[in-house]
Every structure is written in structure tokens, then in C-alpha cells.
Point group: C3
Chain length 102, copies 3
Amino acid sequence: MMIMHDVVLVTIITEAVLEHSLIEDIGRLGGRGYTITNARGKGHRGVRDAGWSTDSNIRVEVLCDAKIADAIAEHLTKTYYADYAMTLYLSEVKVLRPKKFA
Amino acid sequence: MMIMHDVVLVTIITEAVLEHSLIEDIGRLGGRGYTITNARGKGHRGVRDAGWSTDSNIRVEVLCDAKIADAIAEHLTKTYYADYAMTLYLSEVKVLRPKKFA
Amino acid sequence: MMIMHDVVLVTIITEAVLEHSLIEDIGRLGGRGYTITNARGKGHRGVRDAGWSTDSNIRVEVLCDAKIADAIAEHLTKTYYADYAMTLYLSEVKVLRPKKFA
């Protein structure tokens, strides 16, 4: 019998140029880890075609508690939404080892 | 204090050859953006090994309202499920800026 | 009108060296398919920088029923958590064709 705990998954899709800034932000705001995959796509800033580069966008995931998720969402929105293509969404997921993420 | 809104995340995992068709379909059905990552995997069509190509499968994500999500799911199912390896699932997520996705 | 069914999405983020073992485990425990993307990130084992390799981490997704999801989560936790960097989370999603995943 496993004990599952609710945590929040924060997913950020944005320009690859922001990778290092985001990693710093996430750590400072309490995130204990992150996962990054390269992506391409179209958002409100127009098509980002990967024909010449598959690294143009990144998809960043952070598992954390609700309070840290809110802090990350609020900070990134205020800091980057005006000047960069960025989409951010939160989902509720279950993990086995919550201490890793809080 | 942030205002979060419910939207639907549509995730489609399918053959890379369908990328351009899917992008057209998503746009025509009301999707305002999408994110694509390259993937590999095994589904009901058998193993798709990435040893010779990491581009064999794609994972497409669309954030939209429930009505558009249903339209996308229904259209893709009718159009591609019979002839292509395709998996599609919907999840409820929260976003800060719903106007971007509706 | 589409009929949607609840299934569980198991997401595993771990070291690329475990890919073949995980695929065997997932199949033996009842998973009918999986999707893998290459990733990089930082977890409780420290930074895994992709500067020299974008294949250092993998992100594995499995759609299945709750019973199989529990079996996969329990087995992977017992088998790998002590010796490998691994994060596992479960989310509830909806699919159109549940028979593919059970």
C-alpha cells in the first residue's frame, strides 16, 4: 500500500534564451528540482519553426507545493510575460515522496 | 493574489509524418497555439525505436477551452485513428491568462 | 458526442541508463504502451547538465488504469529510488479509447 501526496506540477513553455534565468528563479523561489525538454511550437508570438533549430523553445517542469507554485507563477508572469513568449500552467498530480518537492 | 482559470490540455502522441496536418487541424478548429516535442515509444502499432531516428514520434500539446478540446479530439479520432498510431488524452489545468487560449 | 474515460498518466523522470529496464518493467506490469522524450534537469542527485549530452535524462509516460499505475509506481520506487535519480508522479486524464490502455 503506497501513500500518495498531492503536489503541483508547474509547466512553463518559453524561449530557450530564458533557460538560465528560469533555473535561477525557480531555485530562489523554493523549487527543489526541474526537468527541461526542447520543444517547438506556435504561441501568441507567432510560429517558432524548428526547421533550423530544435532548441528554439523549452518546456520546463517543476514539482512543488501549492505555495511555491503560486510564487513561481506570479514571479514569472510579472517578469517575463510582457517581453517574451511564455505559457504557464499548473496541474495537480500525486507523488510518492513529497519531501523531495517541498 | 493571482486569478487562475481552468483550461483543457490536449496531448496527442502520434507519428511525426502527421505534424503538418495536425497543425492545420488544430488551427482550423480554434486552437491558438501548440507545443511539439520529439518522442519515441511503443503503442498499439508496435515499437517505434529511436535508434535510427529521434523524430519518429511527436508529442503535441494544445491549451484550449473544453469546447475546442472536444472538437480537436473528435476530429483527430475520426480522421487518423484508423490509419495511424495515435494516442490522445485530455487533462484539466489552470492558467493565468485564459484569453490566450480561447 | 464522445465518450471519455478516466485513466492514469504515470510520468517517470530518471536517468537515461534505465530506459531498457523501465520498458521491461512497464510491459511486465501491464502497461500497453509508453512514450519517451529526452530531458535534462536537476533533482535530488544534483545538476545533470545537457551541455555535453542531451540524453542524460529521460521522461517516460504511461497511460494505464489505476491498478497498473499503482503496480508500476510501487515497483519502480522499491527497485530504483535508492540508487538512481528518479521522480514519479501520477495524474488523472481522460482518453477516448480506454481499451488501448487496460
